[in-house]
Structure formats: structure tokens, C-alpha cells
């Protein structure tokens, strides 16, 4: 879902940079107050793992692929504030070193995947945890749905930016983007559940209650 340069108009580019700087900037402020020392290496490793996993495109439907975005995974391991910083770091390296996503469009990509993606997964996860309780199947369901929603909501915001920029009409670009990402979101959900279960198996303390406390 990395938007290249050339798709977005000046107003949308500027507005999305404002959203990205505001969202991640406040995250940096929060993390500066609360970050514990043992989270530092975990942030590095989570970012590195998500970068690697994003290289693994999987086929979803006739001639289209998707890959993990990792917002929900980062949120589960680090909480939403540090999680959005980690996704931002991945996107910055992808744009500057790998020419994946535009440099001007980086603001939009950060807003879509690091801010909207992470916070959507956080909101949905918290809500479902409350509804389903702490049972194992409840946690798995919450993880899957949170990951799915994070991709779908990111794609909705991305589609809105494209429509606002006038590259394609709302009635076309929104259903097409959201539709294909409803499929990609299934992959996101499965991978997030698999990785979270694996981490829970070997280092349950890493997932502990971070996503529940919001720290």
C-alpha cells in the first residue's frame, strides 16, 4: 500500500504530513516519558522483523499480491505509541533506501500505516478483549480481527487520499482499494496470529499487558 510520488496533490500531501508528524510526534513525546530500557532492543528487533516480513508478498487473487504491514504486530509487542514509531522507521528506510513508497508521499504512508494502521488495531483489540475476555480463543480472535481491521482502515484512508487528489473518483477507488485489502487483511490476520502465538510460546512476557495498558 506504499503510495509512490506523483499520485497525491499538494494539499493532500501537506495535510497527510501534518497528520503523520502530529501522530508520530506525539508518540515520540509519550515514549520519551515512559520507555523502559528493556523495550529498546525489542523495538529494534520488531522493526527489523516487520521490514523482512514486508518483503514476502503473497498472492491474494488473480494477479494481485499483498504483504504484512505489521501495525497490529507492533502494537501487540510494544503498545501503540512505540508501535507507530517502529512502523515509521520501517517506512523511512523503505522510502529512502529501497525506493518503496515516495519521499514526498512518505507523510501519507506514515499516516496510513504507522498512525491509522497501528491505532485501528489498538482500538479494535481493546474493544474485543473487553467483549471476549482473556480466554485463549478470545485473544486469538481479537488479534486476527485487529490485524484485519488495521489493513482495511489503512486502505480506506489511502483511497481517500487518492480520491482527494483527484486521481480516481471516490466511487471507484474506495471500493476497489478496500475490497482488495479485505483479502490482504486475511493474510495480515493469519501472520499476526501466527507470530503472536509463537512469541507467546517462547517469551510470553513480551506480549504481557502492554496492549492492554496502553503504555
Amino acid at each position: 500500500m506504499h503510495i509512490p510520488d506523483g499520485f497525491l496533490n499538494v494539499a493532500t500531501t501537506a495535510a497527510s504530513w501534518a497528520g503523520a508528524v502530529g501522530g508520530v510526534g506525539y508518540g515520540v513525546h509519550r515514549v520519551k516519558r515512559e520507555l523502559s530500557e528493556r523495550l529498546v532492543p525489542l523495538m529494534g528487533v520488531t522493526a527489523a522483523f516487520i521490514f523482512a516480513a514486508q518483503m514476502l508478498n503473497f498472492t491474494v487473487a488473480g494477479g494481485t499480491s499483498g504483504h504484512l504491514l505489521g501495525g497490529a504486530l507492533a502494537m501487540l509487542l510494544l503498545g501503540p505509541w512505540a508501535g507507530s514509531i517502529v512502523i515509521t522507521a520501517v517506512l523511512v528506510v523503505q522510502a529512502l533506501v529501497f525506493q518503496d513508497g515516495g519521499v514526498l508521499a512518505l507523510g501519507a504512508n506514515i499516516l496510513n500505516m504507522a498512525v491509522v494502521g497501528v491505532w485501528a488495531s489498538y482500538g479494535v483489540y481493546r474493544l474485543l478483549q473487553r467483549l471476549l475476555g482473556a480466554r485463549a480463543w478470545g485473544r486469538t480472535t481479537a488479534t486476527f480481527v485487529a490485524a484485519w481491521c488495521s489493513v482495511v482502515l489503512s486502505s480506506l484512508v489511502a483511497a481517500s487520499e487518492l480520491a482527494l487528489s483527484g486521481v480516481s473518483p471516490w466511487a471507484l477507488v474506495v471500493p476497489a482499494m478496500v475490497g482488495v485489502h479485505m483479502l490482504i487483511g486475511i493474510g495480515e490476520g493469519l501472520i499476526t496470529v501466527a507470530v503472536a502465538s509463537f512469541v507467546r510460546g517462547v517469551r510470553p512476557d513480551l506480549l504481557s499487558l502492554r496492549a492492554e495498558t496502553g503504555a
Binding site: 528493556r38 529498546v40 529494534g44 528487533v45 527489523a48 514476502l56 503473497f58 498472492t59 494481485t64 499480491s65
Partner: protein, 101 residues
């Protein structure tokens, strides 16, 4: 997280990146929509290129070039994030210390 677990995490990231040559090469969701709704041509190339398309330049074997690009990326992302987190954590430690005095 201990050094040992950080190494375990980094090694798994490198292993995942090594699978990249097997990844689907179909266009992703956005590219597909851009193609279908004919705005893909609006995309313009980057003003500069380092490791475009996750293929390390100058390596003739494409699978190897992809894996190499992946490993370079994994290390860069780790370094950047670790460094940033360390900086933020340090600021916090300084502040706590000052407040305790």
C-alpha cells in the same frame, strides 16, 4: 530483552528476508487498483536510487541480490530503530535522574 533474545530475533528477521526470492511478484493491492483505474502512469521515479526494488545493484544473481538487499535492510532498520529508541530512553533516564535530585 537480553542480548541473546535480540540475536534470536535478528536472526529470524534475516531468515525471513532470505525467503524473499520466493515472494509473489504480482503487483500489490494499490498497484493493481492504479493499473485498473489507469493512474499508475502518474507515479514518477525517485529523485535518487539506492537499492531500488529490493535488488542489490551489481549482483548478477537476482535471488542473491534480493537476499542481500533484505539483509542490508534488516540491519539498517534495526540500527535506526535501536538508535532512536536508545536516544529516547536516555532522555527519559536523564529526566528521571534530574527529578530525583
Amino acid at each position: 530483552m537480553s542480548k541473546r533474545w535480540s540475536v534470536v530475533g535478528l536472526v529470524s528477521a534475516v531468515l525471513v528476508a532470505s525467503l524473499a526470492p520466493l515472494a509473489s511478484s504480482f503487483p500489490d493491492g494499490l498497484e493493481r487498483v492504479a493499473e485498473d483505474q489507469s493512474f499508475l502512469d502518474l507515479a514518477h521515479g525517485a529523485p535518487f536510487e539506492a537499492i531500488p526494488d529490493y535488488v542489490f545493484p551489481g549482483v548478477p544473481n537476482e535471488a542473491l541480490a534480493t537476499i542481500l538487499a533484505g539483509i542490508v535492510g534488516v540491519l539498517m532498520v534495526f540500527g535506526l530503530t535501536y538508535g532512536l529508541a536508545h536516544l529516547l530512553q536516555h532522555r527519559r533516564a536523564d529526566k528521571t535522574l534530574r527529578e530525583e535530585r
